[in-house]
């Protein structure tokens, strides 16, 4: 069984890194960790990065999960291949771009691009927000699913996820002590349905609610194809395209 320890990062394609940067900092409040030629790395907690915008197609979306060590990674690759999933072994250069020691890539049954990573980088410096949004860290994702029951079996039987609760047909699944790290949401095609950042208190949720409300009628624009909104208990980015 593949033992996922935590969600590690999200990688999103964007045709316009400048507006992605503007959105991620001025609106969301994330910290720029590094600007590469074609990559923008953003921090939300003690990790070196938890979100990376990469120049490209906004349909290219990847979620990374941390596993314990390279042996677990090899074991996971064998498990996935035995089940018929094509597994990509990350090259050293690709691992460097992800700020991890090693990784593999594959697609879940819906077709979501998933990466398993070993030793993702931490930062020696604490997270310093670009705006006082109260973010304490990247916490969970909603994944599109064309068949939530089938995908729930994948995440709970091939991987170690457990269903904490369900809302209708939406399973909220945990891989550690947090109530849920993955939610499966029925959708016609693969994609990330939302990206959740935890904030300190409900005060921060309400502050962001008014902050975004005010800016919706002013200047804050989201990257192409992506709409963002504040949500109860989190700040989420919801894909609508």
């Amino acid at each position: 069984m593949i033992q996922l320890r935590d969600v590690s990062y999200v990688r999103l394609g964007s045709p316009d890194l400048e507006s992605a940067e503007n959105f991620a900092t001025a609106c969301l409040g994330l910290q720029i960790a590094e600007r590469g030629k074609k990559d923008l790395y953003l921090r939300s907690d003690q990790r070196a990065h938890t979100l990376c915008y990469s120049e490209g197609d906004p349909n290219d979306q990847t979620v990374g999960f941390e596993v314990e060590d390279e042996a677990s990674l090899q074991e996971a690759a064998s498990t996935l291949e035995a089940l018929g999933h094509a597994v990509h072994a990350g090259t050293a250069q690709e691992a460097e771009r992800r700020k991890v020691r090693a990784f593999i890539g594959f697609r879940d049954p819906t077709g979501n691009h998933i990466e398993l990573v070993v030793r993702p980088e931490r930062s020696g410096r604490r997270y310093f927000a670009s705006r006082d949004a109260g973010i304490t860290g990247f916490s969970h994702i909603g994944l599109n699913s064309t068949d939530p029951a089938r995908d729930e079996r994948f995440w709970t039987q091939v991987c170690n996820a457990r269903v904490s609760d369900r809302i209708g047909d939406i399973p909220l699944m945990r891989v550690n002590a947090i109530h849920h790290t993955i939610a499966l949401v029925r959708a016609p095609k693969a994609g990330i349905q939302h990206i959740n950042h935890q904030v300190e208190t409900s005060d921060d949720v309400l502050r962001s609610y008014y902050f975004h409300n005010e800016r919706r009628v002013r200047s804050c624009s989201a990257p192409a194809g992506i709409r963002r909104r504040a949500r109860a208990s989190s700040i989420s980015g919801d894909r609508t395209a």
Partner: protein, 111 residues
Amino acid sequence: MHHRIALYPSKRNGLLYAAFEVEALDQIMQNSYFMQESQIRIVQGPGREAASRQMFLHVEGPDGLIFSYVNGMAEIDGKPRLARQFPLNAASLCDWGSESKDVPELRAPGR
């Protein structure tokens, strides 16, 4: 409790609002959505007053009287302390960012 009576500079006399304590933030939000659904005008909120840390939802009742749902007011622990001075601005009136559009007593000047 941090305060029981507040005096608002005003051109008129009378009660500005009557506030009722609710259990938690959940009930402030539930009432906020209930009032929107019921098309009862929300005068301000949901919000949180910076000085008292009290969360509030002000709604318009009959004859212009405001009724409020509140929760979380700070308690004074008995140690003597000076009254703190907050400026009359939007951030003092609401930490979260809610504003009152048309009740002059609940507005900061210049907004």
